[in-house]
Amino acid sequence: MPRLLLIEDDRETADEIRAELGEHGFDVEWAANGIEGLDMARSGAADAMIVDRLLPGMDGLTIIEALRFEGKRTPVLVLSALGAVDDRVRGLRAGGDDYLTKPFATAELIARIEALLRRPAESRDTIVQVGPLKLDLIARTAKRGDRTIELLPREFRLLEYMMRRKDQMLTRAMLLEEVWNYKFVPQTNLVDVHMGRLRRKVDQPHDPQMIHNVRGIGFILRAP
């Protein structure tokens, strides 16, 4: 059972997050202020941390900086009510691994925690494979079984990202941030349209489905 440390000063928010994460099989420890949180982070063995940006006692970013300075590499998701792009940049620069603006959908939080816990290792492989799907990063070709899939560069990038994170829930916001490097939320359903095209190319009518659309949350790529 993955262990999480939640540093969040608002009790109600903390209770909700703990309940929700508990249902999804996480063991969540909770600290209500920065100083206590830093102590628990130092001594505990959390697999990942969720740290609120503004905390009494000690600022969330200060905690992360202190931990990173001490060489602790526990992945951190920064939670913040400050939604500006600059704040996000600051959070990541301080050593945070991901940044989520309040309020958020719990599904988004869980997807991001899962992503943090299962971060793909830096791989030097030139071939990525999920089930019958095979991506040649040098030749820039994609194949499903024997069938060659013609992909546009942006589709190739999207598919590579998803294959490296197979079986993981990828929310629209995560895809926008990571694949398109978008720093804002577009008004149109950009992700859905791009994903729809990729899906039609990967999953042909007679194929078992690999790209799954989870309604209201995002997409998962699974081996059939």
Partner: protein, 460 residues
């Protein structure tokens, strides 16, 4: 009586003004200078007159001394007779000091014999009862007698009196005049400051329509007032804008929130199955998300408008940026059966924030694709015009009526025709904010369809 003395102990306001203090200081310096000048004039004149009368008496003493004793008596009497103004003195005394002739009773005791001409007290009048300050000289003659010649120097004192009188006549009115001018000037300045003070207090109290008074003359005070008034106008406009934005926020947030509330209330009352309740909750969450998206977009605009990130600017090539935006929106356009054409004639490099410029162009294309009906066409072009790189997004949508064009770049505005299409109405305000940050120009023209242009100054 008490009150009068109490009030008189406090100096009036005008005395405390800088104008008045300067006036008094300058008047004082002027007076000192004039007094010194007059003193020098007096001193030089006195010296000159004294030297002249000394020369005269020395010469006369010489002349009388060289005459024979008999002749000398005659000449002295003649000399005294020819002096109607009674300014000449002469006397001949024996070695023992006995008077032989002349209009002096005694030998003046302070006069050095055979010395140069000097200041001396001469005993005159009956039996030498009076004394007179004169310039005098004494000579011992070969026969032992003492010859005394003197000259009244009252002229010098008269000159001193004239000088003093002139000084008083000239200096006093000048001083009074300058102090009066100082008082008037400082009272005037005081009044103006008080007027300004009053207005400023009203402004502080919240009356932003107040302006500082001007006289329509080109003095520094007026210039300052003009500058301050300009500033006040800007502030007033900004405050109005903020107030307007506040209303917009209230309206655009309240609308979805009210919907959520009504929906929840009805759901609670009427839902009979879990499914129905879930549907209500889902709709409510969507409504809340819409409100949150509005807040996010607003914060984003505020972030851009108040950004100090100009130092994060770099050289941004526009051609690849446009291709990227085209690439991003191509599938969306295709799904809607809209032709999205990217027409990049030449490369242009501008100084700016790439992410923000991307956001601006993406927003324009987003809007164009959204508002263009099926089968329409969106053109994204980059070309040079009048030395500026111009990004143009042109569509075959409904266009924007001229009277609404300025309004659409303001926050939250959405043209009525587009109410049916999803969108928060913040896209164009965001573009306007980004363009303003870069000091580029943003124009919206409507022919058939809508044409939005960003004219960019190119990096040198």
């Amino acid at each position: 009586m008490c009150a009068a003395s109490a009030s008189s102990s406090v100096p009036p306001d005008f005395i405390r003004t800088t104008t008045f203090r300067w006036t008094v200081a300058v008047a004082g310096m002027f007076a000192v200078y004039i007094i010194l000048l007059f003193a020098v004039v007096y001193w030089r004149t006195e010296r000159y007159l004294t030297a002249r009368s000394d020369a005269v008496i020395t010469m006369q003493a010489q002349t009388f001394a060289s005459a024979t004793p008999e002749r000398r008596l005659v000449v002295i009497e003649e000399f005294l007779r020819q002096d109607p103004r009674m300014v000449q003195y002469a006397g001949l005394f024996t070695a023992e000091g006995q008077r032989l002739t002349g209009n002096l009773e005694r030998l003046p005791s302070d006069l050095r014999i055979d010395g140069p001409a000097q200041r001396s007290l001469f005993p005159v009048g009956f039996a030498g009862a009076e004394t007179q300050v004169v310039r005098g000289i004494a000579r011992r003659l070969p026969n032992g007698n003492v010859l005394v010649i003197g000259r009244n120097v009252d002229e010098v004192r008269e000159i001193a009196e004239i000088v003093g009188l002139t000084l008083a006549l000239g200096l006093l009115p000048a001083l009074c005049l300058s102090i009066a001018a100082g008082v008037i000037l400082s009272i005037r300045a005081q009044r103006r400051v008080e007027e300004v003070n009053k207005r400023v207090q009203r402004i502080v109290a919240g009356d932003l329509r107040q302006r500082l008074p001007t006289r329509g003359v080109d003095d520094p005070f007026d210039k300052l007032a003009f500058v301050v008034n300009g500033m006040l106008e800007n502030i007033e406009a900004l405050i109005h804008e903020i107030a307007g934005v506040g209303d917009d926020i209230a309206h655009d947030l309240r609308t979805p929130l009210t919907r959520v509330r009504v929906r929840l209330e009805r759901g609670r009352k009427h839902a009979t199955t879990l499914e129905q309740l879930r549907a209500v909750v889902d709709q409510s969450i969507a409504g809340l998300d819409q409100s949150l998206a509005i807040i996010t977009a607003l914060l984003r605009i505020a972030e851009i408008e108040h950004t100090r990130r100009l130092d994060g600017f770099s050289q941004v090539p526009l051609a690849p940026l446009l291709h990227e935006v085209g690439d991003l929106y191509d599938p969306i356009a295709e799904d809607k059966h809209i032709t999205l054409q990217v027409d990049v004639v030449a490369e242009a490099i501008v100084h700016g924030d790439r992410d923000l410029l991307f956001e601006a162009v993406a927003n324009l294309v987003d809007n164009a694709v959204k508002f263009t009906p099926e089968g329409g066409r969106v053109e994204l072009a980059l070309f040079h015009r009048d030395g500026e790189a111009t990004i143009r997004v042109k569509d075959t949508g409904p266009g924007i009526p001229e009277i609404e064009r300025e309004a659409v770049t303001k926050r939250f505005y959405r043209s009525d025709k587009s109410r049916r299409t999803e969108g928060l109405g913040l896209g164009l305000s965001l573009v306007a904010a980004i363009v303003k940050l870069h000091s580029f120009r943003f124009t919206i023209a409507s022919g058939p369809g809508c044409t939005a242009e960003i004219a960019c100054r190119q990096a040198q």
